[in-house]
Amino acid sequence: MIATGGVATGLDVAKAIALGASAAGIARPILKALRAGGRAGASAAVDAIVRELRAAMLLTGSRDLRALARARRVIKGELSLWIDQLAGH
């Protein structure tokens, strides 16, 4: 499963993996960075996303993506309602 649509940061990528995705796609933030700063800008945007993902892995004690997929997470608010109410449907 690949998460796309509104994924904006490395932390979003980490959350997607922790929720069961195997990878994530990011479009708009990188397109914006390309428009603003050319290829170097887009490149820096990718670096920042990967750096943030790695920081999330470090802080959750996840040595690799397999560990991140098992990382402890708490789901609150509206997303929790969606999960509760759609369970079994």
Partner: protein, 143 residues
Amino acid sequence: MSSIGQRKADHLAICATEDVGFREFSTLFQDVRLVHDALADLDERTVDASCTLLGKRLKAPLFIAAMTGGTDEAGEINRELARVAEEKGVGFGLGSQRAMHVRPESAASYRVRDVAPSGTPSGTGASRRPRASRSSLRSASGR
């Protein structure tokens, strides 16, 4: 410009400049909290974010997502982003290739294999034209 070409151009201009994110609705990623592990026996250098996606080894579970194609400007963006993806070791998705089937002459705007020899071009729009997807991938990969 044909209407599909114009639509692609508008899509690019709007996504790059205007606030098109969710307003009332969101991804709900803000409702997910990852729990901090303060005792992890790890340091930054030992974290391994690499993975294999669609048979390709990536440095991170990330791809620059399918966005565009069909116009000269879109072709330039595809090539720039494909080059970045190649340099960074992440995947790359080509944008809606429906335009390529409606106007075969726009195929060049999807051609990125020369700048991203090891990348992972993924065809989209295939759900609308399932039989077209194989030829579109071949065309995009220049093979």
